[in-house]
């Protein structure tokens, strides 16, 4: 074992780009290019733009949370400030005829976000942990409150709005249509994600991980934990500002909502849901959350309840987030045992899905029963119409829920056993699964 791996270590080459690292980027870029041809409707484009902005923001946030171990409760400030600045610049471009092409606007947002982060970070990054979290919360509240005080910059309650189409046309594009904005946003998404990934591979990016794991040890290796945190914080502020600039371009309006604690809280939720431990975690989180927010909210008024439940369950049972759940399967895959999991998964997850849908239906039924207009007894779930005042739907829904969960629980033992087997080597060879 030792001999072979030391030979492998000697063969390892440095500096070259391997297909393993380049391929995901190429594939994702290709998907981004093709997506508008698959989902052509205007609302789909809106959702995808929203998604791209959230991904940039979540990745920026994870530079702090996942990479640097800093829990911020006020990161909307940097995105919001970048966005507000971009709105003002957009208006100056319109009134003063400044020759600034629109695609460069996010750079300004980024620089402004970074400027803010430099100021705040200069004192907040002294320690990580509770002190940092509390300062971020305080600053978040402070800036959100100043939005109604400093009206010249934040525009008071109605916010600041503008028109993106007055910038210098780029190759004839004036960004009148959604699709043009989509490609602009997607371009920035790929660029920022790539830069953030590369940042994590630089000495200061590596040391961010080291400081997260053990700030004291990092100090005894010649690095000041505070400076390492500060650099991460500034870089994160830059990309949050870029996200703000993209938001300004897309929605042409920024309000207090972009700065407040709700936005700060949801980016924490998104990042955690996706998984803080992996670079791509926040991307998954942003996609899932935006879909839930936009698609589920059209279906039900209770969508926030479901998102909240999902978040709590993720924190409790899968602290690695959705990315962690995906990456759990790497070991079985490497051992060639992924196939053995398929049947137990079907046996457990389908009843579980029925149980969950049953439970959700019960919530919907209850909500309708309690809150529908007086005399309004008819509701529809999954295309089936029924009366909430007849006992049959109640019995069916409760029955399905109980049976679903019971079946899932019964087969979960088998799943657990198969999972255990799939994670260990059957032969006596050393290495691999740990």
């Amino acid at each position: 074992m030792t001999d072979t791996s030391s030979i492998m270590a000697k063969k390892r080459s440095y500096g070259g780009l391997s297909t393993g690292t380049v391929a995901p980027w190429v594939i994702c870029t290709a998907i981004l290019l093709v997506l508008p041809y698959v989902f052509q409707s205007n609302s789909a484009l809106t959702i995808m733009n929203q998604m791209a902005i959230t991904i940039v923001f979540a990745l920026a946030y994870n530079m702090l949370l996942g990479q640097g171990g800093m829990l911020s409760f006020g990161h909307a400030v940097y995105m919001g400030m970048g966005g507000f600045m971009c709105m003002h610049v957009m208006n100056w471009v319109e009134y003063e005829n400044i020759p600034l092409p629109l695609p460069l606007l996010p750079v300004i947002g980024g620089l402004f976000g970074m400027g803010m982060a430099t100021i705040i970070g200069s004192f907040s990054t002294r320690t990580a942990g509770t002190v940092f979290a509390m300062i971020s919360l305080g600053i978040g509240e402070l800036i959100a409150a100043s939005s109604v005080i400093v009206v010249a910059f934040f525009g008071g309650e109605e916010g600041v709005s503008g028109d993106r189409t007055y910038g210098l046309p780029v190759f004839g594009y004036e960004f009148l249509t959604k699709i043009e904005v989509y490609y602009l946003t997607a371009g920035w998404l790929v660029l920022s994600a790539l830069l953030m990934y590369l940042f994590s591979r630089t000495p200061v990016g590596r040391m961010a991980n080291a400081v997260r794991d053990n700030p004291e040890r990092a100090q005894f290796l010649g690095y000041s934990a505070r400076w390492v945190r500060f650099y991460s914080f500034c870089a994160s502020g830059f990309f949050a500002g870029v996200a703000g600039g993209l938001f300004a371009i897309n929605f042409e309006i920024l309000t207090e909502e972009n700065l407040n604690l709700v936005t700060s809280g949801s980016i924490l939720l998104i990042t955690f849901l996706g998984g803080v431990g992996f670079f791509f975690g926040p991307i998954i989180g942003a996609i899932v959350f935006t879909l839930l927010q936009s698609v589920l909210s059209l279906q039900t008024e209770l969508w926030q309840l479901y998102v909240g439940a999902l978040f709590v369950l993720t924190v409790m049972y899968f602290p690695g987030g959705l990315a962690g759940v995906l990456m759990m399967h790497v070991v079985p895959y490497k051992l060639g045992k992924l196939g053995t999991l398929v049947v137990p998964y079907i046996k457990t997850l389908i009843p579980a899905a029925i149980g969950i849908l049953g439970l959700a239906s019960f919530c919907e039924l209850m909500f309708h029963f309690k809150h529908a207009a007086v005399g309004e007894h008819d509701m529809s779930l999954f295309g089936i119409e029924f009366s909430t005042h007849s006992p049959i739907p109640w019995i069916v829904i409760i029955g399905l829920t109980v049976i679903g969960f019971w079946l899932a629980k019964r087969s979960s033992a088998e799943l657990r056993e198969t999972w255990g087997n799939a994670n260990v080597m059957t032969s006596s060879k050393e290495g691999g699964a740990q």
């Binding site: 030391s6 500096g15 040391m207």
Partner: protein, 252 residues
């Protein structure tokens, strides 16, 4: 010739309790020096004072003739002093290789660079591989450091400590909690990696101390009661009364 490390009238109090009560010690370049003493004598506190983890109450610490007063740990490290900890202190969620590579970054001049890719530097990566080879952890290269066995983690910590090329190495109980074979292994490792460097260690295992070190200081209640060659210290009446006797008693 200036000493590698010189302590002069070093004192430390926590509140009214004086833990270090005036330590004077001079350790020459290339010397292997052990600090021994009963539990609570202040050995770890002394280490923490030297490395800037705590500020001293009074007195001086000089590294190659430079006073370390008011310097932060990272500044002291940059001046060529590196230490390990009594309780294993590594980066548990990073891979073994990353642990070592991070400890090479500063000494290789990368500082807070965000324009270099760590994977592109041949010197950096080969340097890290070399250290892994030295501490025999090449086969554990890609595992998270937190899953290693205790002895392996201790070896890794020694690797991290020496990686930056510091010429004064301080090890705080490197063999604590180890079996005999593990201890022999770690002692061999320490001997190998500190070749030509100044080594200062706190150690409980007398076998280790007498075998490895050129000189020994005995610290009792915050004061050094004896300093000298192992044989001289072993024969010293005051030491036997104050410490070795007690240590022998404690073993029974």
């Amino acid at each position: 010739m200036t000493a590698a490390l010189e302590l002069e009238g070093l004192r430390k109090s926590f509140g009214k309790t004086e833990i270090i009560r005036g330590v004077d010690l001079s350790i020459g370049k290339g010397e292997r020096h052990a600090i021994i003493g009963p539990n609570g004598a202040g050995k770890s506190t002394l280490f923490n004072l030297i490395t800037g983890r705590f500020p001293q109450t009074s007195g001086h610490v000089r590294l190659h003739g430079h006073d370390l007063a008011g310097k932060a740990p990272f500044e002291i490290n940059r001046m060529g002093l590196s230490r390990s900890f009594q309780i294993t202190n590594i980066f548990p969620r990073m891979t073994v290789f990353e642990n070592v590579r991070c400890s090479l970054l500063w000494s290789m001049g990368y500082k807070y660079s965000f324009w270099n890719m760590v994977s592109k530097s041949r010197a950096l990566n080969e340097g890290a591989e070399e250290i892994l080879e030295q501490i025999n952890l090449s086969s554990r290269r890609d595992l998270p450091a937190g899953v290693l066995s205790y002895a392996e983690q201790r070896a890794l910590e020694i690797g991290i400590t020496i990686a930056g090329g510091a010429d004064v190495i301080m090890l705080d109980e490197p063999t604590a909690g180890m079996s005999n074979t593990e201890t022999d292994y770690i002692v061999g490792l320490i001997e190998k990696v500190t070749e030509g460097k100044t080594l200062i260690m706190v150690e409980h295992d007398m076998g280790v101390v007498f075998g490895l070190c050129d000189r020994i200081s005995v610290l009792v209640y915050g004061e050094i009661v004896a300093t000298g060659e192992p044989e001289a210290v072993r024969a010293d009446q005051a030491v036997q009364e104050a410490y070795l006797g007690a240590a022998l008693e404690a073993e029974h």
